[in-house]
Amino acid sequence: MPEAILKVFRGEKDSGTFETYKVPIEEGMVVLDAIHYIQQNNDPSLAVRWNCKAAKCGSCSAEVNGRPALLCKSRMDKFEPGQEITVQPIKTFPHLKDLVTDVSWNYEVNKKITPFTPAPDANWTFYQEDIERVQEFRKCIECFLCQDVCHVLRDHNRKDAFYGPRFMVRMASLEMHPLDTANRLKSIKEDAGIGMCNITKCCTEVCPEDIHITDNAIIPMKERVVDEFYDPIGKFLKSIFAGK
């Protein structure tokens, strides 16, 4: 049976090394299967997060040969025979052990977002064409690969100033809901720091759900922020109508 060579990051809180494992390859195998093989046959203490193994829960995020990916969607047969496969934890969040990181920051960010706010007298009739955009955003499985690859978070560690692509998508899903009445624009500008994004589209590239994060969520929200806060003519018109 052909064998794959995996180099897996082992260790706690950033101190660790890559350990090499040989894993027999089965047809259709994914990297998560290989990690499970190591867990069962070499070391049951190998730490990895996973739940569904079907790319629906977004738990098994890691970096495979340096690229952010879901382990359950990374097919072994896309690598050359004999090619070493490195598996390491996502870099943007504090390391805990082996392939597991502390992603709790994301859950704290989510709490800061103004929740869905329908009008009390909404009649709940709306059409498929009204929700196509929102449904794209709601496909998000919170794997946080977009957060991992975002330069603002990854290279500059500006978690104090930028919520990251995942929560741009979340806010866009609320802002574009046909029945939502809240205005999040000030928060999107000031708290979420949408101006920090310089639209390199790396987040879009790694999204396992193919959400067009930059084009469909971030850019339209940037435009709304510009209209609200930076458009001089708009500001002038508003000042007139506000006086009415």
Partner: protein, 608 residues
């Protein structure tokens, strides 16, 4: 004395899938202090994997639908074994719970009139499943999660409970550990809601995630509650069969709901041959009528055509596929063919996006161009912790259960789509029941017995001590053996000989479980976690096997080769499993009798 963290709540909810989140939201709304414990990160629970939809008689598509029809469908699907009151509450309250999800931000697919769209599913007379493509579970859990984080309850992520603690007969707390670093934690709580899901990881081929290790069933059993009807284990007819790594992953019933056709290696559409006599009249008479039904469904038009035979109940379709494969008419990888590729490719991608990607990415199959290969996969357990229908309280005061870990609602076979509705209907009732129980307690202080905590700590420390010994067993090897035993001897078709063998093997395996050991530290150590999970899975597995041996008939998902007929007498009793000292006790207890006004809703006779 060992160190542990202490938290105090009025209500502690264990499990954060649909039922647990809905229970926590409700209990919070009642003004009590709530904690929510989840074994994974928030939003990753098994609910996220539900695909096809949530069943509720909104009558948005088929206006003849109402709760009574849903109730009758549910009871018929469950072969009369359902707790009638639960089935009634479920059918009556599901529509309001779905509307509530929409008010909380869920974005369901729409009808042309701008209402929530509903699709057909097995065993449902009318189009009843509210859905979002084929990712309805994700929509539901995210909606509840985003609602929950603003309700002020505490969430303890990646935390597992290993012991329920009692003051006399009453619940007084729970003990557990954090997966992250292995530190121990004590929760003082006046009431506990178990919402931990199912038992799938006891089987080799399953659609269930790693979390499904029978935690709630085992905790409740240990605390003195009883488990009912554990013999009823649902094998979903359509799981992936290839490649090996994805074997068992669910292929939504929505494929058949949208018109998917099942054929064998001889290209024969076989489901019509397996329809029970008593339900044949509900289905189309030939492929032409099936085709008219599908065309009308796609166009969103009314039709007098009846639904295709592929939409029979899950127990029936699973047995049919198993039989086709066993008799040599299977597909190359040991399944049968499920085909939706005759429909417009863009429509298939729109209605079944996850299925499209799942097959494309994991199996190199384009479902818009050719058929899928599918076969039965262990999916759900109908049996579980016995609860009172209206409050979801178990026979242990202060202990509640909701969702898959509870029993009674689905009888001998669950209809697709009735699980998501179960979660929100009974999650809410459990949260309400627990909050009212706490209010009723007043200021009665509940004690925690220190000896019980010490024992719980000792139990959790033990695998590391055993791990130092030469004859320590790898917990993953034991799980593999458990899987083989359950799949071989307690699987889709059963007989006395197999079940007896299985029970003997489980007994031997229990000795091995005691020798499960691990090395390393307590920091995120999956091997250590598995040692504890094994104990839970063993309890559920033994309960399933003993219950299956005791039911000498075939009913719903329980198929006995040595008792192939349904015995009407046996519908009068639940199988009850409880702890009697160190032994497992099995009793037949009287099933609640349905009132006359509900009986009148049934025209037909019972069927196998």
């Amino acid at each position: 004395m060992a160190n542990y963290e202490v938290h105090e709540h009025d209500v502690l909810v264990i499990g954060a899938g649909g039922a647990g989140l809905r229970a926590a939201i409700e209990a919070s709304a009642q003004g009590v202090n709530v904690g929510l414990v989840c074994k994974s990160l928030l939003g990753k629970a098994h609910t996220v994997m539900a695909e096809g939809g949530v069943a509720a008689a909104l009558a948005n598509v088929d206006e003849q639908d109402d709760w009574k029809v849903h109730f009758v469908d549910t009871m018929n699907g469950g072969k009369g074994m359902n707790n009638w009151r639960m089935a009634q509450l479920h059918a009556q309250e599901a529509p309001e719970r779905v509307r509530e999800l929409e008010r909380w931000g869920a974005v369901f697919d729409r009808t042309k009139e701008g209402k929530i769209l509903q699709r057909a599913f097995g065993g449902h007379k009318y189009k009843r499943l509210c859905h979002v493509g084929d990712r309805t579970g994700l929509e539901m859990i995210r909606t509840l999660q985003d609602q929950g984080i603003h309700r002020g309850f505490n969430v303890y992520m990646e935390c597992a409970v290993t012991k329920l603690l009692k003051d006399g007969d009453r619940i007084s707390g729970a003990f557990g550990y954090y997966r992250e670093d292995g530190r121990y934690v004590l929760f003082k709580a006046k009431a506990i809601v178990l919402a931990t899901g199912g038992v799938g990881k006891a089987f080799t081929v399953t659609s269930n995630s790693w979390e499904y290790t029978a935690d709630g069933q085992a905790l409740a059993y240990d605390a003195g509650a009883d488990l009912i009807d554990m013999e009823f284990v649902q094998f979903h007819p359509t799981g992936m069969v290839w490649p090996p790594g994805v074997r068992g992953i669910l292929v939504t019933e929505g494929v058949r709901g949208e018109g998917g056709i099942l054929t064998n290696s001889e290209k024969k559409r076989f489901m019509r041959d397996y329809l029970p006599e008593s339900t044949k009249s509900e289905f189309s008479v030939d492929d032409e009528e099936s085709k008219r039904w599908v065309e009308a469904a796609i166009a969103g038009q009314k039709t007098d055509a009846k639904r295709p035979p592929e939409l029979s109940t899950r127990d029936n379709v699973a047995r049919a596929i198993y039989t086709e494969v066993k008799e040599g008419r299977g597909s190359p990888h040991g399944g049968v063919f499920l085909d939706i590729s005759y429909q417009d490719a863009a429509r298939v991608r729109k209605k079944l996006p996850s299925m499209y990607h799942q097959f494309k990415d994991l199996a190199d199959v384009d479902i818009t161009a050719g058929p899928m290969e599918v076969g039965p996969t262990m999916h759900y357990i109908m049996g579980g912790i016995r609860v009172e229908a209206d409050t979801q309280q178990t026979r242990v005061p202060g202990l509640f259960a909701a969702g898959e870990c509870s029993g009674g609602m689905h009888g001998a076979n669950r209809l697709g789509g009735n699980s998501l509705s179960d979660l929100i209907v009974f999650g809410r009732l459990a949260g309400l029941g627990a909050a009212e129980y706490v209010k009723g307690l007043g200021n009665n202080a509940l004690a925690i017995n220190n000896d019980h905590i010490e024992a719980a700590i000792k139990e959790m420390d033990e695998p590391f001590e055993i791990g130092k010994q030469a004859d320590a067993k790898n917990p993953y090897d034991i799980q593999k053996e458990l899987n083989q035993i359950m799949s071989t001897y307690v699987g889709i078709f059963r007989n006395e000989e197999d079940l007896t063998t299985g029970i003997a093997k489980l007994k031997n395996l229990k000795e091995q479980v005691k020798k499960a050991g691990v090395k390393g530290s307590k920091v995120f150590n999956p091997g250590w976690h598995m040692c504890r999970d094994l104990t839970n899975m063993m309890i559920a597995s033994e309960a399933i096997a003993h219950s299956a041996l005791s039911r000498k008939e075939s009913r719903g998902a329980h198929s006995r080769l040595d008792f192939t007929e349904l015995d009407p007498e046996l519908a009068k009793f639940n199988t009850s499993i409880s702890k009697d000292g160190d032994a497992m006790k099995l009793e037949k207890t009287a099933k609640p009798v349905m009132p006359e006004e509900l009986k009148e809703l049934f025209a037909k006779k019972e069927t196998k």
